[in-house]
Amino acid sequence: DVKVTQSSRYLVKRTGEKVFLECVQDMDHENMFWYRQDPGLGLRLIYFSYDVKMKEKGDIPEGYSVSREKKERFSLILESASTNQTSMYLCASRAQVLQVDFGSGTRLTVV
C-alpha cells in the first residue's frame, strides 16, 4: 500500500508567518499534489508536481509556493500566512493513470 505522510496533523500559526507543510510518499510516484479542502467548496488543487523540480499551478495557487527537490518529498509553502488560508491541507501522490492516494491531512489555523 502507498503511504503518504504529512508531517503535522494540526498547526496553529500567526498572520504573516512563513509556513512549511511537508509531505513524503514511499512509492516512487512521479506525481504529487497539494489540495485544500473547505466546507462547501470541496477539494481544490493548489499545485502539483510531475517530476523533481517540476511544478504546475493548480486552480488556486495565489499565496502559495511549492518545492520538490527529491522525488519522495513535496513541500507546500505559505509565504505570508493569512487568516483566509485557514483550512485542511491534503497532500497526495499518484502513479500515472492510477488513483490519487492521500495523506491524513494537516488542519492549519492562522490566527
Binding site: 477539494l43 491534503l90 497526495a92 499518484r94 488513483q99 490519487v100 492521500f102 491524513s104
Partner: protein
C-alpha cells in the same frame, strides 16, 4: 469547462435502507473515475476505479457503476459505520489532474 457534480449533497438513511449516490460529469475526455470515502478530520480513502461505461466494481456493501455521463455508488443494507462523506473524482484524458465533486455526506442511523 470540466465539471463533476454529486447528488444529493446529504443523505440520511436508516440502517438497512439501501440507496444510491450519483456522480455526473461533463469532461472533455475521461480516463478514469474514482470513488473515495472520507471520515471527518481524515484524508480521503480510495474505494474504486472505473474506466469504461458498463464497468462495475463491488466491495462489501458498496457497488459502483459507470455510464457515459454518470456513475452511481449503490449502498446495500447500510450500517452506521458506513456514515462518511463520499467523493467522486474524474481523471481527464490529458494531464495529471483529478477533478473532484463536492461530495455527498451520508448518515446512517441505527
Amino acid at each position: 469547462e470540466d465539471q463533476v457534480t454529486q447528488s444529493p449533497e446529504a443523505l440520511r438513511l436508516q440502517e438497512g435502507e439501501s440507496s444510491s449516490l450519483n456522480c455526473s460529469y461533463t469532461v472533455s475526455g475521461l480516463r478514469g473515475l474514482f470513488w473515495y470515502r472520507q471520515d471527518p478530520g481524515k484524508g480521503p480513502e480510495f474505494l474504486f476505479t472505473l474506466y469504461s461505461a458498463g464497468e462495475e466494481k463491488e466491495k462489501e456493501r458498496l457497488k459502483a457503476t459507470l455510464t457515459k455521463k454518470e456513475s452511481f455508488l449503490h449502498i446495500t443494507a447500510p450500517k452506521p459505520e458506513d456514515s462518511a462523506t463520499y467523493l467522486c473524482a474524474v481523471s481527464l484524458e490529458y494531464g495529471n489532474k483529478l477533478v473532484f465533486g463536492a461530495g455527498t455526506i451520508l448518515r446512517v442511523k441505527s
